[in-house]
């Protein structure tokens, strides 16, 4: 049992998947010779050879488009897009083909492709390197969307994603890349589509995912200490499928919910969770679902991102606001 960073855990998952299944191929920009700009794919080319792990020309649409061709011939591609913002040149291949091929072929053709994307902000990157892209994929029917929050979860969810016959957009929170956790090679955690309550509580349900799970847990600790609030923290883990049951169970208990995500607020995941909560739990809500999120502005320059990103304070302010709704 080893304490691995998320980078190492993802590397381990790729390596295990390639070992288990010869159809798994890993490729992208700078993934082979260099082992990835974050070293996530380090050593894979040496170990599995040029045909299983290779570099691609600087062309994102080509990375996804050729993966689709490989999948048609029975492979299980795991392409990497170097950064969140560079999924955009591949948007057409993802939305028009990756997401729709199974449907177009009336179920005959699977698209067992996992698109790995180092994602989200928090590490002071230049423009276009800190985008929250999940809304794009969640709204596009036909894609699964997985967002791990820790090393062990990343290991398990990535193996699940690669084995899954549906296309998965796998968003890796860069800011958690170097956080360590015990990872047991070969064991799995909850499958894709299951949210996990990371901390139980009774005051307010905090629904989050990815890099903000750790922030929410920290906020919950502080809230308990300073205010005596018992926050329940739910890690969604996958946004499609969405485990709304786990969210609902929590809300039924607390009556209150704050969604915590870092992308822009309008039509971020908070909107969908809020819509679902009031639709399905109208009589259970003691307060509206509130959103602690990024702003509806372009992602800011590195020096200012800490003020843009929702952190402990914005979350606790929002929790406080939720608590300001009195029972009638």
């Amino acid at each position: 049992m080893a304490q691995l960073t998320m980078v190492e855990a993802i590397n381990a998952a790729l390596s295990d998947a390639m070992q288990t299944d010869e159809q798994v191929v890993v490729f992208g920009q700078d993934v082979a010779r260099q082992g990835g700009v974050f070293r996530v794919t380090e050593g894979l080319q040496e170990r599995f050879g040029d045909n299983r792990c290779f570099d691609m020309p600087l062309a994102e649409s080509a990375i996804i488009g050729s993966a689709i061709g490989m999948a048609i011939r029975g492979f299980r591609p795991v392409p990497e897009i170097q950064f969140d913002g560079f999924t955009f040149p591949a948007f057409e291949q993802i939305a028009s083909h990756l997401a729709k091929y199974r449907n177009r072929s009336r179920g005959l053709l699977a698209m067992p492709i996992t698109v790995r994307v180092p994602s989200f902000g928090g590490i002071g990157s230049p423009e276009h390197h800190s985008e929250s892209t999940e809304t794009l994929w969640v709204h596009t029917a036909g894609l699964k969307v997985v967002v791990p929050s820790s090393a062990a979860d990343a290991y398990s969810l990535l193996l699940d994603s690669i084995e899954c016959d549906d296309p998965v957009i796998f968003l890796e929170p860069k800011r958690r890349y170097w956080a360590r956790e015990e990872v047991v090679r070969g064991t799995r955690r909850e499958p894709i589509g299951r949210a996990v309550v990371r901390r139980t509580g009774t005051t307010v349900s905090v629904v989050t995912y990815g890099g903000l799970v750790a922030v929410a847990l920290e906020a919950a600790r502080i809230a308990e200490e300073q205010h005596g609030w018992h926050l329940e923290v739910i890690d969604l883990r996958s946004l499609v499928p969405l485990d709304f049951d786990t969210v609902a169970t929590s809300i039924i208990k607390t009556g209150r919910c704050v969604v915590f995500h870092e992308g822009p607020r309008t039509l971020g995941m908070g909107a969908e969770i809020a819509a679902r909560a009031q639709e399905e739990l109208f009589w259970n809500m003691e307060a509206p679902v509130l959103r602690a999120t990024g702003f509806d502005t372009p992602y800011p320059p590195g020096r200012l991102e800490h003020l843009w990103l929702p952190g402990v304070d914005r979350l606790l302010d929002t929790v406080k606001q939720s608590l300001s709704y009195d029972r009638i």
Binding site: P57, S61, G65, S66, R73, G74, S96, G107, D165
Partner: protein, 358 residues
């Protein structure tokens, strides 16, 4: 191989528009064996094309993009490949589909709007028709890369149009194929028009084949209305690809004799005179003349070709006219391997709506 060009307007042709051989058919024998079959498929393609247009006019199809005039390019290409070679069509490749033996039913139902992508394609190693222009070229390259790893000697063909060559995806595909030496053929049907946009507004290149230079890719420009030239060019490209020599770009110079689709009115943007001049270069008439003058013609050939074509037209009509729609509940079946809970509840909603309506 003397047919490959590097940046010039050289134009590979074996049979000219009068049906006269302009170049020695090295493989004369083998070609004369297959040419009658190719002729029959071209005739069938032309006829099925006409039937599709009729069916659209009768409200049985939503839309149809005629391939009239491009049968030589299409059948010449398809006939030069193995059945197991994966093909990635755009949408106008009726000649390719028929050569591959795809059931007209599955093609017709796609244009009826019964289901996207058609039916019976994958079983014949043909990808479903691809509407977003140029995108399928990348699928062809990925499949070619796969063939190389599988060492199955497979070649893939990306069918693209002159318009498609302007799209970024086609560039990325050609570049990738050349870098990876993938066994992929880019078969461009340069039919001179992309809807209302003529070639001159699409590119300033001396030829589309000349684009091969900048990818370090073999390229050839052929008379796309000469089924033999297309057949030879694709045969050679496929042989090269199979032997590890990488991709080839083939520009088949042809013409879209009909409208872009049944929804289009080309009189708004092009002269009849141009169409007439290309009608004189019809790919079907030309083979027939050649077969006649070269002594390979016999009337049974025409009779058989027309009979097959008639049968296909009949089968198409039977399959398509008032064809039943699938259950709309199928919407939810093919999104994922298993529908999510959310999809399940949406299915129930629709099921309830359908029940209410009776």
């Amino acid at each position: 191989m003397d047919t490959l060009i590097e940046n010039n307007l050289q134009f590979l042709q074996f049979i000219d528009e009068n049906g006269v051989a302009t170049r020695a058919l090295e493989r004369d024998k083998s070609l004369s064996n297959v040419l009658p079959g190719m002729y029959a498929t071209m005739v069938a393609a032309r006829q099925v094309d006409e039937e599709m247009i009729n069916l659209q006019r009768q409200g049985q199809l939503a839309l149809y993009p005629s391939a009239r005039g491009q049968e030589g390019a299409q059948v010449g290409c398809a006939s030069a490949l193995r059945e197991t070679d994966w093909l990635f069509p755009q949408y106008r490749e009726i000649g390719v589909f028929l050569h591959r033996g795809i059931d007209v039913r599955g093609i017709g139902l796609a244009w009826r709007g019964t289901w996207h992508g058609g039916d019976g394609f994958l079983e014949r190693a043909v990808a479903p028709m691809s509407i977003p222009i140029g995108t399928q070229a990348l699928h062809a390259v990925g499949a070619a890369m796969a063939s190389k790893w599988l060492a199955d000697e497979g070649v893939t063909v990306a069918f693209i149009g002159d318009g498609a060559t302007s799209e970024g995806d086609v560039h990325e595909a050609m570049n990738l194929a050349a870098v990876k030496k993938s066994p992929c053929i880019f078969f461009v049907q340069n039919n001179q028009w992309a809807i209302s946009t003529p070639l001159a507004d699409q590119t300033a290149a001396p030829s589309l084949a000349s684009k091969g230079v900048g990818y370090g890719m073999s390229a050839v420009r052929v008379d796309g209305n000469d089924v033999v030239a297309c057949h030879v060019a694709v045969s050679e490209a496929a042989a090269r690809a199979r032997s590890g020599q990488g991709p080839t770009l083939i520009e088949a110079v042809t013409y879209r004799l009909g409208a872009h689709t049944t929804a289009d009115d080309p009189s708004r943007y092009r002269d009849d005179a141009e169409v007439t001049s290309w009608e004189a270069r019809d790919p079907i008439a030309r083979v027939k003349k050649f077969l006649e003058t070269s002594g390979h013609w016999h009337d049974d050939l025409e009779v058989a070709a027309l009979a097959t074509a008639a049968e296909l037209r009949h089968r198409l009509r039977e399959a398509v006219v008032d064809a039943p729609d699938p259950s709309p509940l199928e919407f939810f079946d093919h999104v994922f391997t298993q529908p999510t809970a959310e999809l399940e509840s949406q299915r129930q909603l629709l099921a309830a709506e359908l029940e209410l309506e009776g």
